[in-house]
């Protein structure tokens, strides 16, 4: 199961990187979000999986697809300059970063020990415990997050409206 969802996630991301058409790239990204939601289910965390599907695949991706269709620019524009050094440099940089980090994770004795000691499946995360922690210990943060969402909403309207 794990390898299936991991492959869905990574192939979706790869498709997004390579796809020329922005709409198809957005749909590849939906596949990635579904794969990540599957990984969250395997992590005994159905609350996070539901949130992932609702917020990312539901809200953010629909917003992105609406903007893509509104702008009516589905293909990438022709490059002003080719910049081969920067492009190959960034490819090499990203590949080196990924390779080095994966090697580090693979060889870390601390992570290996934590993986063994935490292998017992904890009870699935329930909405009840999340809500209790959120409203008992992080009430101020919750209110600030609400305020931030309101500010972002007003900011987005102010930025896109031609004349207020």
């Amino acid at each position: 199961m794990f390898i299936t969802f991991a492959l869905i996630t990574l192939l979706g991301a790869l498709g997004m990187l390579l796809q020329k058409n922005v709409i198809v790239a957005g749909l590849c990204m939906v596949a990635t979000f579904f794969g990540v939601a599957g990984l969250f289910v395997l992590l005994a965390n159905p609350v996070a999986a539901a949130l992932q599907l609702i917020v990312y695949s539901g809200a953010i991706m629909v917003l992105v697809l609406f903007v893509i269709m509104m702008l009516n620019s589905h293909e990438e524009e022709k490059a002003l300059a080719r910049r081969p050094i920067q492009r190959w440099g960034s490819v090499i940089l990203v590949a080196a970063l990924a390779f080095g980090a994966v090697r580090l994770v693979q060889s870390s004795p601390g992570l290996k020990a934590l993986g063994v000691s935490g292998a017992a499946m904890p009870p699935a995360m329930s909405l009840q415990t999340v809500g209790a922690t959120l409203f008992a210990d992080h009430l101020l943060g919750f209110e600030v997050a609400g305020l931030l969402l309101l500010a972002a909403m007003i900011g987005a309207v102010a930025l896109t409206k031609r004349n207020l």
Partner: protein
């Protein structure tokens, strides 16, 4: 579960490897693609990779609830970022008639 086995069958290291590769692909999207919308999606991908790592650590530390609260806040900030970022892309398109980040190199008209 050790070594390759942990990575292939969903040990902690497997989740971390997936998160790292997802982050690398998001970073590559931001660096290699020029369309602002694609770069925005790359940023969302990197945020998601961080979420995968966070929740993997939470599960292997015995189902920590604090991580879920952090995840909620990260999602709230990501939603704000999406709204404001897309509004900026639309604003740029109105002024310049382009969504190419190379063509928007200066703030002056």
């Amino acid at each position: 579960m050790t070594g390759m086995d942990a990575i292939l069958h969903g040990g902690l290291q497997g989740y971390l490897v997936v998160a790292l590769l997802l982050f690398a692909l998001g970073l590559a999207t931001v660096l290699l693609r020029r369309t602002l919308l694609m770069q925005f999606m790359g940023i969302e991908l990197m945020l998601n990779a961080a979420n995968v790592a966070l929740l993997a650590f939470a599960r292997f530390r015995g189902g920590d609830t604090q991580a879920m609260v952090f995840y909620l806040f990260i999602i709230a900030v990501a939603a704000c970022e999406a709204a404001v970022g897309l509004a900026l892309v639309i604003g740029l398109y109105r002024h310049r008639d382009t969504t190419d980040s190379d063509r928007a190199a200066s703030l002056k008209q």
